[in-house]
């Protein structure tokens, strides 16, 4: 096997199909999007070259900045929620009873499709017969809020299902990472008299720091380009109160038939994601990797 793999041509042969696929399906569309973003185009008729006009317009577009703000807010909330998932995973990995079952329960939302989740939460949030408002009126609240119609709270109302949806995914990652820590290290610490807090904070967390960094990147990038649940639940409304970058892009490209502008938004989103990833890498960078 080693002999075969030492031949450069064979390596090229094996890598080629995947490389071709990724170029055709990922990189070419990215370049095309960048190209379209320099055009004024309704998606059907003639394209006219307008250079950076779309981007100039974008910089002045208050709705775009509002959606960028909303996306960043979602990223902040997702990262904060990672802390919660970490705590849950620490507890689960601490050999409590029923950890296996609990882990599976947490994972279930991840297995549902986003549209199903959106439908489920639409029922919960329904202003008059929804579970949440029925419960509130049972408690004696006179005029329970219109969760998805009130511009001041709609954004948070859609964040909750999104965070709920991804809980299982991150818990699973953390759980696996924690289970990977050699038991000899933990046992040694216990013999040395470490209490559970010290065990978690001084031993376990530093050992899975690499995984935590990856999840932060995943959460931030995932939030920035988030689309489906918001699209189904509110469509970005009322009047843009829950609009995020991706839903705004969809609206511009497919509703307003402004493909050039939509492409400009998409390309900006890509740049934002790359910058965010780079920043997080930079900020969380440590010289020494912990080894065990």
């Amino acid at each position: 096997m080693d002999k075969v793999m030492s031949d450069k041509r064979v390596i090229a042969l094996y890598v080629l199909p995947a490389l071709l696929m990724i170029i055709i399906l990922v990189y070419v569309p990215i370049i095309m999007t960048g190209y379209y973003s320099l055009m004024k185009w309704d998606g059907i008729g003639e394209r006219t070259f307008v250079a950076l006009d779309n981007y100039k317009q974008l910089l002045k577009d208050s709705m775009f900045w509002k959606s960028v703000y909303h996306s960043f807010l979602l990223a902040v909330f997702s990262v904060l929620s990672l802390g919660g998932y970490l705590v849950v995973s620490l507890v689960l990995a601490g050999r409590i009873k029923g950890a296996n079952i609990l882990r599976k329960i947490y994972l279930i939302p991840m297995l549902l499709s986003s549209v199903a989740i959106a439908q489920l939460w639409l029922r919960i949030y329904h202003p008059s017969n929804g579970m949440l408002n029925q419960f509130l009126s049972f408690l004696g609240v006179d005029d329970p809020p219109n969760w998805l119609a009130d511009p001041s709270i709609v954004l948070y109302s859609v964040f909750i299902p999104i965070i709920w949806q991804y809980a299982g995914f991150y818990i699973l990652i953390y759980y696996a990472a924690l289970k990977n820590i050699p038991s000899s290290i933990i046992e040694a610490a216990i013999i040395d008299g470490a209490n559970p807090w010290q065990l978690a904070y001084k031993i376990k967390l530093p050992l899975i720091a690499g995984v935590i960094k990856v999840t932060i990147v995943l959460a931030v990038v995932g939030s920035l380009k988030y689309f489906d649940l918001i699209y189904v639940m509110t469509g970005g409304g009322p009047n843009g109160a829950s609009e995020v970058i991706a839903s705004y892009m969809y609206q511009k490209a497919f509703r307003s038939f402004n493909f050039g502008y939509g492409s400009a938004i998409a390309f900006s989103l890509l740049i934002l994601c790359i910058v965010a990833t780079w920043l997080i890498r930079k900020l969380t960078h440590t010289e020494e990797e912990v080894q065990y």
């Binding site: 309704d42 998606g43 008059s128 219109n146 998805l148 119609a149 009322p238 038939f257 402004n258």
Partner: protein
Amino acid sequence: MLKKAHTILWLVVLMLVLAGCSEKTTEKDTEGKGEEKVTLTFMHLWPAGSSKQHNMIVNEIIQEFEAENPNVKIKQEILENEQYKNKLKVLGASNELPDIGMTWAAGFLEPYAKGGLFTPLDDLLDGGLRENFVSGTTEPYALDGKTYALPLELNITPIYYNKGIFEKYNLEVPKTYDEFKQVVQVLVDNGVAPIALGNKDRWTGSMWYMYLADRIGGADTLKNAINGSGTFEDPSLVQAAEEIQNLVKMKAFIKGFNGLSNDEAKAEFTNEKAAMYLMGTWDLPQFTTNEDIPKEFREKVGFFKFPEVEGGKGNIDSWVGGPGVGLFVSENSKHKEEAKQFVKFFVEKWGERSVTRAGVIPATKVNTANIDLPQMYIDVLNELANASNITLFADVQMNPEAAQTHLNLIQSLFGESVTPEKFAKQHQEALSNTR
């Protein structure tokens, strides 16, 4: 030995299969000789699941057409509404439209027509088909004097109401807007939600605004504001926006309407939790013939015309509405003639069957004298005959970009996050910027 037997068996089976195949193909070949075989693709948005009746009629018409034209085969591709719109756009961009497909009027059709993707169908109209259509229904599909699609449906929007609830509180069908507001007040006082509205979809609220604009400013004010010969800052259009907010303040609409979809709102009406519902006549089957909805409820539903506003210029026989989907033929179709013939055939047959079988009011004239229909249909068809004006839905009249601004502003107006003056001003800006 066994292995050998297996191999032989396999060979025999294979030979049989191959022989079968080849025989069939030769048969087909001889059959097809003589006339050229033509396959037309037809894309539409009536799946058997959600639009059973529509789908059945489509299949019947296709069968009949194929029987009359044995050399033509129609291949259907069926998608749900939203997917349909997206797919059509993608196909349009790559110049691969189906031979025949469905389109909406005005703003939706414009980019396709301008891009030369649809072929003009005026020769069909001039060939005698024009007589069949209700006057004015083909105009929204025309651009620069050419008609690019032929409509299948025509809809107007009455206010449906629950007779049971009205009786319970001794309410009369309102003739004037003041009476209408009294009805709303009585219902609110009794804890009944007056109007079901799902304004997450936005065009639903737009219809309320359009009616008020029509009744206050007359049929042309809004039209002119949209086509640029008038202005959106016309006092009557601002006043209509104020009236919307007055209704919101009265709690005329169901709770949380800005976050509810149209379907959710309709459920409130069909569950008898709300008394009134302004919606297109495309929902008539649900209130008359649809067996899935309880009979007791269907018998309670009536409709009335949007009341007149005192001192307003509008008249009660003016409707908000318009043609729904229409059929187009692709400019790039290899078999344009056959496709056009199919469109003509389809429009005629559809007109004969759609109203009795699927409850769709066709854009072609219907003779009510000798057909058996629920009373509400006959009433609507008669109203249609008396209509003084039909104003096309605002978001269809406007170009797509301005339409989005309009729809968002409607949501803000209903949510009281924009003043009537700003509402008008921002419309004016959006309309003049995108013209």
